[in-house]
């Protein structure tokens, strides 16, 4: 067997690798494609445009201008108050949504474990074909959950490892060879 630690690059080889370009841009259309895909997924929003009142352009007399200014400033103040309130409500809702989402994950996770427990009990006595179908369904759910975890934490090696091992198993089964799997990858 070779001592693989002794396999060193020659100076010319090292130079050849160093000469390979480390930077290159893909086609220019890709940027628009990525931005468009991010917008569709709701990950990028429209830019906010601030409108300013052009007071000096209002072609009315002083009294009318003062009246309009008073009205407009009251309106603007009211909108600001409303917006502040709305922003606070949105913030509260977002916090609530995150808490609800976390609770929902916990509830469904417990339901999943409970269903697996029932499957474990039934596997000794039930029809083997039905048990196999239930196991397949359970693995599918586990795979989808791992897939979502990878989406949430793309650089997390643990989630990626779980997904990888599940994928290896799926690829080895005849069902995947027949194209029965319908999980959408991200």
């Amino acid at each position: 067997m070779h001592d693989r630690d002794d396999d060193q690059l020659t100076a010319a080889e090292r130079e050849a690798f160093e000469a390979l370009p480390r930077e290159a841009m893909p086609g220019r259309l890709l940027e628009e494609r990525v931005v468009s895909a991010l917008r569709v997924r709701g990950l990028l929003g429209e830019r906010h445009v601030t409108r300013r009142f052009a007071w000096s352009r209002i072609p009315i007399g002083f009294a009318a201008a003062a009246g309009v200014a008073l009205f407009a400033s009251g309106l603007a103040f009211g909108q600001w108050m409303g917006a502040r309130h709305t922003a606070q409500v949105m913030l509260d809702l977002q916090k609530q949504d995150a808490a609800n989402a976390s609770a929902a994950v916990e509830r469904t996770g417990k339901a999943y474990l409970s269903a697996l427990g029932a499957l474990a009990q039934a596997s000794a006595s039930s029809d083997p074909a039905q048990v196999a179908r239930a196991r397949e369904a359970a693995e599918s759910v586990l795979h989808d959950a791992a897939n979502e975890m990878v989406r949430i934490s793309p650089d997390d090696p643990v989630s990626a490892g779980i997904l990888k091992s599940l994928d290896s198993k799926v690829e080895a089964t005849p069902a995947s060879a027949n194209g029965k799997r319908k999980t959408v990858w991200f």
């Binding site: 690798f17 370009p21 930077e23 940027e31 917008r39 990950l43």
Partner: protein
């Protein structure tokens, strides 16, 4: 110049498109060649993977803590996306048997010597990835093992096999050289 960290926060919190475009233009030129080499030189596949990497990065941007540079973080996501891409096509096997390795040499013009870039593209995906990460990107075997979820010894074996195969592709046991444009 606005720091990456500020741009990341603008994208993560406000979905700021201008900030995203700035990040894209700063870091895609680093991500693209890495991904292109790992997928074996297929430009359309590499663009799909770059798009997927950015999608994952933006979705997870609020969790970027700045422990590493944004570029390093993005390239790690790109590596995972490229690996998933190869896996979906049934081409990924990080622990492939390197002694039984089949090398699909791309065609070269009559009399033309194979370029190092083409030789890398012709390697099997698993050992190609290790070679790219080690010899091109400068990762250590420990880093490669952690990133790919393989043993350090496997990384060394894959690198040994990849170099041997690349030398063969480039003409017997001659040294690997890069044809400069």
């Amino acid at each position: 110049m606005t720091p990456d960290r500020a741009l990341v926060e603008a994208v993560a919190h406000d979905g700021d498109e201008t900030a995203f475009r700035e990040l894209y233009r700063r870091h895609t030129s680093r991500l693209y060649p890495l991904v292109l080499r790992i997928v074996g030189g297929a430009e359309m596949d590499a663009e799909d993977v770059v798009q997927e990497a950015w999608m994952r990065a933006v979705a997870g941007m609020s969790r970027f803590r700045g422990d590493s540079s944004f570029s390093t973080w993005l390239c790690a996501i790109g590596l995972n996306a490229a690996r998933d891409h190869l896996r979906r096509r049934g081409k990924w096997n990080a622990t492939e048997d390197v002694t039984e390795m089949e090398i699909a040499a791309p065609p070269t013009s009559h009399g033309q010597r194979m370029d190092l870039e083409r030789a890398i593209a012709a390697l099997p995906p698993g050992c190609r990835t290790v070679l790219v990460l080690h010899d091109v990107e400068g990762f250590t075997h420990e880093e490669i093992a952690r990133r790919l979820g393989i043993a350090v010894g496997t990384s060394k074996s894959q690198l040994f096999a990849a170099r041997r195969a690349a030398r063969t592709l480039l003409g017997g046991n001659k040294e690997m050289t890069h044809a400069r444009p």
